[in-house]
Amino acid sequence: MLKKLSIFFWVIEGLLGLGAYGLDYFTRAKMGMARYVILRSNQFEKAFDVEVIQNVVLTLLILVLVVQLAFYIRHKKRANKLLKLNMSLAILIMAVCLLISSRYHFQIMRSYYFVIGPLLLASIVQLVNTGISSVGILKDENL
């Protein structure tokens, strides 16, 4: 059951990642898409303090990840393959989010908000997935 749930979450994350890549690609390849993305991004920046929002979200996600890591280390001996895999993916996706947010912003990457948004969402989904796997080992769920 937990494995099926994990697979479902992984598929969602995969689609989010593909969506982010696709949006970035077509922003570079198609003028109409580029103008749409730039317009919406400009509107987004006017409406919200995006830097604050991004920093808050990233900080919260890192905190959750740290808590999950601490749990994992504490229960490492009981950790099953599913939890190990989910933990690895959670770290991987978070690393990607941090790399992109530290290296890019809207002024140099037109599709930035349309890329970081789905990636942060994927990170949230994976953290939920990892949390469920963690609960699973407490209940001695097996892979």
Binding site: T27, R28, A29, G32, S88, V96, M109, V115
Partner: protein, 367 residues
């Protein structure tokens, strides 16, 4: 331990892949980037079936639309007044996404991304300082003969670049009439060598822009519509756009026209092109204007969504000695201001209504 190492390596590889795939956006090429080194990607070229051996007369400096034969004569060195020339293949986007360049372009042509000439808020022409820097990076001064072309008739990227060059102060600007299709139909060679611009240290030769009067700002357009009966704002858009059925753009949610605008027909439906793809002359433009009681004697400002289609009637009238202008912001900039007046429907008809941008529905984006 081994699993941890594999995990760390996987994280690093994926991070590099994701980061490496990202674009850093378009930027005006700097002098450092405009190296004179050619990057030869392939030496494949299309053999011409016929090469023009005619010696063509020179054309007036103010003539804009020129034949493939004339362009060929420039390349062959038969137009001494255009010895200092540059050929620009104009399209939106970077080179890798421009098959009309990568699959074969005119000999010596350099790719020009229209993002280099347009800012990213209203897609209006960049500042004089930015355009001057761009000209310098491409080795263009006011005395350079700038020859532009696009992949075909309907793509007005080349016309847009030509307009900006004229606005900046380049004195001799030519548009290949009929675009790359005309070049191919004339049987002339193409090449696939990627040519890089050669920057110049020379002064442009005149303050940029030399002709600020070619562009009408939003503020001026609003004022002139209100106070100057001789001023005509001419919409170079489709009928559906003009009467407010659609904005015509996937990224513009509202449809309509500035109150007082007259319809000057669209370029995208071929109204401004002959059957062979060459540009029409002012007789056609005069006819379109007459439908709304206007003429070339009026002070005309052409506009469309963001200024691409509008430059075509500007160039047509320019080469016959008429001074007109472009309302660069177009419908895109107009509809960003809720208080501005808008007309919907055909003027003079029962469907004609007047409202404001703020009252417009936001579901008129092109699907």
């Amino acid at each position: 331990m081994r699993k941890n190492i594999i995990m760390i390596i996987s994280v690093l590889i994926l991070s590099v892949l994701v980061v490496g795939c990202s674009d850093t956006g378009s930027s005006v090429p700097s002098n450092e980037e405009a190296a004179s080194t050619e990057t030869t990607e392939s030496t494949e070229s299309t053999e011409s079936t016929q090469t023009s051996q005619e010696t063509l007369d020179s054309v007036d400096v103010t003539k804009v639309y020129v034949s493939p034969e004339w362009v060929k004569s420039v390349i062959d060195g038969d137009q001494p007044e255009s010895a200092d020339y540059i050929i620009l293949e104009c399209a939106w986007g970077e080179l890798e996404f421009d098959p009309s360049y990568t699959e074969g372009h005119i000999q010596g042509a350099i790719h020009m991304n229209t993002d280099y000439i347009e800012e990213e808020v209203y897609w209006n022409v960049r500042t004089g300082q930015e355009i001057e820097a761009l000209m310098k990076a491409y080795g263009i001064t006011k005395d350079t003969t700038v020859i532009v072309y696009g992949d075909g008739v309907m793509n007005s990227a080349d016309d847009r670049v030509a307009f900006v060059a004229l606005w900046a102060g380049v004195e001799n600007v030519k548009v290949l009439d009929g675009g790359l299709d005309a070049w191919k139909n004339a049987g002339f060679e193409l090449e696939t060598t990627v040519n890089e611009p050669l920057a110049t240290e020379s002064d442009f030769g005149t303050p940029v822009p030399a002709h600020p009067e070619y562009i009408v700002s939003l503020k001026d357009a609003v004022e002139k519509l209100d106070t100057d009966e001789n001023f005509k704002l001419v919409s170079i858009r489709s009928k559906a756009e003009f009467i407010g059925e659609t904005s015509g753009y996937g990224y513009i949610d509202k449809a309509g026209e500035p109150l007082g605008a007259i319809w000057g027909h669209d370029t995208d439906d071929g109204s401004y092109f002959n059957e062979d793809g060459t540009a029409v002359d002012t007789d056609i433009l005069t006819g379109f204007l007459a439908e709304s009681g206007a003429s070339l004697d009026n002070e005309l400002a052409f506009y469309c969504g963001t200024g691409w289609r509008a430059v075509i009637p500007f160039l047509i009238s320019y080469e016959e000695g008429y001074v007109t202008s472009i309302f660069d912001g177009g419908w895109f900039e107009w509809q960003m201001n809720d208080d501005l007046p808008v007309q919907l429907g055909e003027p003079g008809s029962d469907d004609f209504t007047v409202t404001t941008v703020g009252e417009l529905s936001a579901d008129k984006a092109r699907k």
